[in-house]
């Protein structure tokens, strides 16, 4: 296994800059706790596909705008 995938997320950027929304407001919209939003934004938790879709819907963007996959190959 020479490659490693990482997920970068831009939830905080879209929530704050684009929508001027608090974590609690976003949490209420997608039906999770504020702590869950906090952990996603900090990169400590990768949401399920379902929650990623709900987040994207709440922020009015596509899932790809919120999450992107980095690939770090062992060969550089």
């Amino acid at each position: 296994m020479s490659s490693r995938h990482e997920v970068r997320n831009h939830v905080r950027h879209h929530r704050r800059l684009v929508h001027d929304m608090t974590q609690q407001e976003l949490a209420d919209r997608v039906g999770v706790t504020r702590q869950t939003i906090l952990s996603i934004e900090r990169g400590q938790y990768n949401p399920s596909v379902g929650l990623a879709l709900r987040l994207a819907g709440a922020l009015g963007v596509s899932v790809e705008d919120l999450f992107e996959l980095d690939r770090e190959d062992g060969h550089g």
Binding site: R4, H5, E6, V7, R8, N9, H10, R12, H13, R16, L17, D20, M21, T22, Q23, Q24, A27, D28, G31, V32, T33, R34, Q35, T36, L38, S39, I40, E41, R42, G43, Q44, Y45, N46, P47, S48, G50, L51, L69, D70
Partner: protein, 261 residues
């Protein structure tokens, strides 16, 4: 463990009911009959069983994942503790046949592992440490208060008054550091972690091995007293930075974060 999905920071109804069942069950177990322990068990394990059956849906996916991962950690820690107890020393010396304390020790390791893994995953080290320290401080405060009230009598001389005041000051001196560390854990996690490690070592010296105390009692005491403090200390020492948790619309946005996929 956590806030209700989408419900802000107030304690969830399930948690209040479960906590009340545990408290009532323990009191009935202590003062009425040991058979009432099942009431406490209903509070401790009932919500989790209902969630697994799909009849209670008060947790979001992150809370469920934290709880599931904590279960695996508890399995590892509890299994290791059980294997160590059984294999580390001859059975007659441990008193495995006669003492239920070893079983309690394994159960405490199992339960504390689950609890701390779930809390650290969900809240992070700083919130977990702050809550642990406030809990410890509250317990010490109850003990100190009970002791002061129990020993209280109207001072007849200036010396008795002085000794009484000294007792109050010592009591505050024992309780206050826990609340101070709970406060500093949110601001200076690593320094607080170091201080907590020091407190843990002091506890090891004060409550540590005594040849007159059964080994099982020592293990149980050490796990209950020092385990939570040491785990909180290590969690704080591993904390990278004290990030702002929330929340002002004018805050500068952070750069994109990364998680291993």
């Amino acid at each position: 463990m956590a806030d209700r999905a989408g419900g802000g920071t107030r304690p969830p109804l399930t948690g209040i009911i479960a906590g009340a069942l545990v408290a009532v069950g323990v009191l009935l177990w202590m003062f009425v009959s040991k058979a009432f322990l099942f009431v406490a068990a209903l509070g401790a394990f009932g919500p989790g069983i209902l969630r697994e059956l799909g009849w209670l849906r008060d947790h979001d996916e992150f809370q469920r994942e934290s709880a599931h991962r904590a279960g695996y950690h508890a399995y590892l820690a509890g299994g290791l503790a059980a294997a160590l107890v059984v294999s580390a020393a001859p059975w007659p010396r441990l008193g495995l046949d006669s003492s239920p304390e070893w079983i309690r020790f394994i159960l405490v390791v199992l339960w504390l592992s689950w609890l701390f893994s779930a809390m650290l995953a969900y809240w992070g080290a700083q919130k977990t440490a702050a809550r642990v320290l406030r809990t410890f401080g509250s317990f010490w405060a109850v003990f100190v208060l009970a002791s002061l009230v129990g020993d209280f009598h109207m001072p007849a001389t200036a010396q008795e008054l002085f000794l009484g005041l000294l007792g109050v000051l010592v009591g505050i001196g024992v309780v206050a550091p826990f609340f101070v560390l709970a406060w500093t854990a949110r601001r200076w996690p690593r320094s607080t972690g170091l201080a907590l490690l020091g407190v843990s070592l002091i506890f090891v010296v004060v409550f540590g091995w005594n040849r007159h105390t059964p080994l099982s009692t020592t293990y149980l005491t050490m796990t209950l007293l020092i385990g939570p403090l040491a785990v909180s200390a290590l969690g704080l020492l591993r904390e990278r930075s004290s990030e702002a948790e929330d929340e002002g619309p004018t805050d500068v946005p952070s750069s994109a974060s990364r998680v291993s996929g």
